[in-house]
Each structure stands twice: as structure tokens, then as C-alpha cells.
Symmetry: C2
Subunit: 335 residues, 2 copies
Amino acid sequence: MNDMVLLAHGDGGVLTHELVRDLFLRHFPNRTLKGLTDAAVFTGLAGRLAVTTDSFVVSPLFFPGGDIGKLAVCGTVNDLAVSGAGPVYLTAAFMLEEGLPIADLDLIASSMARACEEAGVEIIAGDTKVVGRGHLDRIFINTAGIGIVPGALDLGYERLAPGDRVIINGPIGDHGMAILAARESLDFAGRLVSDCAPLNGIINELLREIPREVKMMRDLTRGGLATAAKEIAVAAGCDIHLEETAVPVRPEVRGAAELLGLDPLYLANEGKFMAFVSAPSAEDALAVLQTHPLGRSAAIIGEVSGGSGNLYLRTPFGGTKYLDMLVGEPLPRIC
Amino acid sequence: MNDMVLLAHGDGGVLTHELVRDLFLRHFPNRTLKGLTDAAVFTGLAGRLAVTTDSFVVSPLFFPGGDIGKLAVCGTVNDLAVSGAGPVYLTAAFMLEEGLPIADLDLIASSMARACEEAGVEIIAGDTKVVGRGHLDRIFINTAGIGIVPGALDLGYERLAPGDRVIINGPIGDHGMAILAARESLDFAGRLVSDCAPLNGIINELLREIPREVKMMRDLTRGGLATAAKEIAVAAGCDIHLEETAVPVRPEVRGAAELLGLDPLYLANEGKFMAFVSAPSAEDALAVLQTHPLGRSAAIIGEVSGGSGNLYLRTPFGGTKYLDMLVGEPLPRIC
């Protein structure tokens, strides 16, 4: 195979076939993809299905804790998982810049394969396009995902009620700070590691233990915890109160964020979600999360009250701040 | 709304919400998408499902006969349709360059909405990312699609048998030549029009009339008729013989291709497919196709024989050429 991606790798001809056979099928050796038909046909999914799509344009491509490939699998798996769906199949579409080292593509595909294995999903359909130099920055990946929502599960904004607790599975801001530090080659880059991880396992544990008491969930990606919480308050027509001291933030993330004038509440995460749980079950939920490797630092960080879409933050000094959605991302290409 | 796409339109915050609400939801006003949840949940699909993904990076964005939006819907609809699946739902993921005129995005979304209506599909999940100027050429779109394969339908390489006829639904090369002419501002640009169209309607007619006699189908996109036929011959382990004089090509496409030294057999199409049909049903299939607006010039263009993956072209002068897959696309960013 060539050392670099050529325009002809995207023309649907001989080189496209070589790339698919020698690189993608080597990493994703499942029977459905091997068929190389126009669409992947599968059986066995029925009832309530969930579908989602996400494109990944992160820069740099490789960062502490992950790379664009791991992100592309985890991001879509997590969108399904917080919707209550067990992820089953992914599609993967690669947009490549002419000149991308094949070795980088190989690392990325290998990382996707590992993330798929960890999440228990299969890539069953794919696509590759190549554009000329300068028309795209190295590689973008789109993944779409399909999952099954258990029949009895009922999640949604409309289930939120005053008193419900807000629970998070760990410290916030790791992904956003890791990307920024890697991009800007900041001195503390080595200690900042993305939290990128598939959340379907831990969410599955939670839903198995207290299926009826989880009201809704949301992963905390672009816009961070504050933007997600504000969105939910508005959509549900309630108020949400967060306790600043209860929100876990790693010291190194807090330090780097302070240095750069950023608020961890608005930093992106790729392995964090919040769950809204009825008050009597909140401690049970916390216990379930804390027994999972991705929930060791889980915490109850706030609660829901009647209201009209406001998000409040109680500060350590006893004050209260209104929080709004993010306006103007300081960090484009975070995922 | 602003006149141009800003980085903040992709940050997951206030401007992202505005863009989704004021532009995308206006064009795609379905209930599932309106929920704006992490994943779209739906019921009613069961049995054999088909899924496919495709990214669209065409340049120019607008061309005679279509635009990147129409292409993004038709391309994915057609991949499902030739697999025998009735397309039902699409996802749409937009990757935007900072500075893209909002008016262009509006035209593109509007065109997608019209194509969805024509194809009878709904966009139920979406995603928007924005990258800085120079990191992506204006707009890329990924669509993934889900469809249902009728229970009794049996399509596949393994069904091809000596004597099966190859049928095409109309003239080849229209899309490839239209894109090239528009890109290079060639004089004859006005007469070259892309064939971009959703094929699920005409394929549905065919499968309704002769469900058992259609052995397999393939749409003729990148790499054109010759690459698709060669792929099928190799995968099925048979030979395919095409009759050059039987393959419909518009005079203006033939003329432009000759001028540029291109072979219409390798030019991209976005509204053409070939069907392999048992010999006794070939005339019936042709009649069905010719009664549909997208099949007026349908033709029987060749047949299958025993063999080992060769593609032959009988020329008007009685000679025979071996054809191979496309090697080295003369036209990148064709779809």
C-alpha cells in the first residue's frame, strides 16, 4: 500500500478497494462489513430503536487519553447510552485529505476497533472520501449508531420533578483541557488526560439496578455541564440548582482552567454524563456508579425545583449565580 | 440570525441552538427531530433492516440538476434502494467552514427537504460541527440511512447465473460530466445536467412486478458503470459482457467526454442503477422501468456468463475489450 492517502483512494476504483480490504477490513473484520454491499443488512433488532449521528473534527488527532478514532466511537455510543439505548451497530464514514499518512489512518482505525470492542458494538457500514490538499484538515470521521431501547424504559424531560437529584459520574473538564493543552503545547499537558470512554457499560449498570427511578440522562460534551443543565431546565420547564463545591474537578484541570480564564463548567467532556434520579433513590444510584471504574468519583451535585428554565449555581461563599448556555466557544474542534 | 456561519454555531451553545431551531427545524419539521434529544427513538421497524452511510464533499456545491443537499439525500436513499430496502429514516450531519453564507446553508437544507419529500423519507437525527476557515472547503454532509428489506426478497451476488440480463435505467455519465463542466466553467456546461434523483420509487415498481426475478442491483456512482460491473463480476465469480452500442449515453455527454478524453463508462452517475434479471423476465423488467419517469431510456445492455470475474465490452466494430475498475479518478469530489 502507498505511504500516504491519494486522491485515487477515494475514487471508488482499485485503490479504494485496496484501502478498504487491507486497512479497514483488517481492523473491522465482521461478516456484515465484509460483504461490501451498498447497505448492510441485519436482523434481530425490533421494538424501540434509537439512532444518532455525530461528526468528529478534533484537532490534534492524537491527544493524551485518546484520538479521533476512539472519540468517534465513544461519542456516538454515549449519545445512544444516555438515551437509554443499548448500542449495537455503528456506521463509520471517513473524509480524508490527500497526503494523510496511511500510518495515521491505521492507528486511528485500530483505536476505533479497540473502542468498539470495549463498548460491545460493531461497525457494519462504511464510506471513504478523499479531497485534495487544503480542502480538509487531515481527517474527519462521522459515525452514526443504532441501539435498542428496552421496552419498559421511560426517560424524558417530562419525567423531571421537584426534588429529583442531579448525579454526575466523575470530574468535569478533562477532555476540554487535555485538547487545549495538547493543541497549545502547554507545559502541564502531560498531566491533563481526556476522559474519552464508552459510557454504555456504567449506564447499563444504573438502569439495571434502578430502571424506574432514573428520569433522564445527558452526556456532557460540547458546552459542558452548564450548557447541558441549562438546556434540560429550559426543555423540562423546571429550575436546576447545582452546588459548586459538590461538582468534582481534578486539581490539575482547575489549575489549568484558572490560568487560562476558563470555567470547567463549560469545558467539554467525553466520558461524563449526568443522571436525574428521584430523591429516595439518589444514594442507591450513587452507590451503583461508584462501584464502576468510570464512576469512582461520582457525586450528587444538585437538584431540581419547580421553576421556569433557570440554572442556578450555589457558590462556596453562600451566593447564587445564574448560569446560561455557552456563548462563543473558546475552543473550536474539541470533538 | 447572522449572515455567515461562525465558529460559535458549532460550540453546542446558544448559536448552535438558534441555527438548529431557525434553520434546520424549519426545513425538517418532524416530531422526532424536534425533540432534540441525544438520539432519535422510533418504533415500527422490524425484520430485516438495512443501514448505510455516505459523506458528500462535492464541488461545486450547486450544479445543474442539483446541489450537495439533494445529492446527500439521494445518494443514501439509492444505496438502500439497490439493496432492496425501502428507505425510511435518514440522519444528517453537517460539517461547516466558518464563513459559509447562511443563505447557502438555507438553500442546501431546503433542497434536502424537497429530496426527502420526493423519496418519502424523514431526517430524524442531526449534528452540526464548525471548523475554522481553511480547515474544510465550505460544507461537507454525511447522511446515514435506515430502511426495511421485505421479508421475501432475496438479492445478492450468489444469485447471479449465466444468461441473466444486465438492465440499466437510462443514459450514463450525466452527473460526472455536469460536475466537471460546472467546475471548469466549460462552454457546454448549460446542456449537461446531473441525473441526481432518488431511485427508490422506480426500484419499488420493479420489485413489485418481478420480485423473484431480480437477482441483484447496484447504483452506478463513483467509478461509473464499468467499475460497478467489474466489482460484481469479481464478487460473483462470473463474467459480464456489455454491448457498447446498447449502453445509452446522451450525445452532449458523449461529445464532452470525447473532447476531454474521458470514457462515459467510468463517469459517475447519481440516478442510475443496473439490475441483473433472469433472461425470461428481462423484457418485463424493461417494460416496468420504461413506464417510470426515471426509466424512459432503460435498456438491456449485457448479460452474465460463467467465468472468473472478467468484464468484457463488445465494441461496435465487433471487437471485444477487457475492462477493469477505474484506476485514478480524473475527477475528485464528484459526490
